[in-house]
Symmetry: C2
Subunit: 188 residues, 2 copies
């Protein structure tokens, strides 16, 4: 792990525990046994450090599942794969919570970039639900609200999942996928 | 509206916009055209002000629907009523977000009290799902995960609902209730 990645991971934990506003650069440098100058060499501002933490999670975890999902032609299978993988991300790493809690601390341009990722998730789900509706496989509910229902189920995991215990992510994703897919299905 | 309620509502908005950590008591007093002494007369500390904001929302919005739900004997109707009302609360007032975002700023005793409310929501849903399972009306999925799926759907509304537009809460709650109830139903 290079020093930049080490800083990102350690700072993510500090932001989670203490909050962004209450974690000054001098504190971060101290915890990492770096000079303030050494820290600023890698990250010119605390805001850039925050943005890089969020990007790091997205690049390592979110984009790979998004890209795989987009290669699946069947909308039902696409939603199943995506929700299952999205729920898994949420159970793996509490630091995804930072991108929700501290988003308002990003500068407007960085916030726009983050919102693009949120929009990708939303569009993927909403469009897949609409495809299922067009095929007669999903009932005619509001596809935007249904997309948000799926995102909410998975994202809320950040607030209650016990990260000190392991192993139940599969049962959790199975339950979410089952509830959501049966919930939107057109029943004959 | 008495002056205490006025302070609670105005401060809730400041905490939402600026975050708890970045909103000092002197700023709150200034915004409300109060002396710091006047503000401290009502609220001996910022932490107590935060706790009172959270309690105020719970007492005005959450407890009434919880109590009504608990009088409904049929578990399926109980869940339908509760989810519909819970989703409505989330679309009415973004300040419910404070109790999620700023919970870690409460002192341990106040945090315990807040967690009791979260636990009430969870128990109501989980127990109702178990009752439905015992009656053969809900499938045998993990009832804890199913309860969190329902809470997540509704609570996530805080992060995306457009509070500047009105009127769609009914369509939203209908969609959530429909997805969740069909999602957990035992289908013959």
């Amino acid at each position: 792990m290079d020093s930049k990645e080490r800083i990102l991971q350690a700072t993510a934990k500090m932001f989670l525990d203490r909050g962004y506003d209450s974690t000054p650069m001098s504190f971060i440098a101290g915890e990492l046994s770096l000079s303030k100058g050494g820290l600023y060499h890698h990250f010119p501002s605390k805001e850039i450090l925050l943005f890089d933490i969020i990007n790091h999670i997205n690049e390592k975890k979110f984009f790979p599942i998004y890209e795989t999902a987009m290669t699946i032609p069947d909308p039902e299978k696409r939603i199943r794969y995506f929700l299952r993988s999205f729920a898994k991300i949420m159970t793996e790493d509490a630091s995804a919570r930072i991108s929700v809690h501290e988003a308002r601390r990003l500068n407007p341009q960085h916030l726009e970039e983050l919102k693009k990722n949120w929009r990708m998730t939303y569009d993927l789900l909403k469009n897949s639900i609409c495809e299922m509706q067009a095929m007669g496989k999903a009932k005619k509910i509001n596809s935007a609200f249904a997309a948000f229902a799926a995102i909410g189920m998975c994202s809320w995991t950040l607030y209650w999942f016990d990260y000190s215990r392991e192993g139940s992510w599969e049962e959790l994703s199975d339950a979410f996928v089952e509830i959501f897919m049966k919930g939107i299905a057109e029943i004959e």
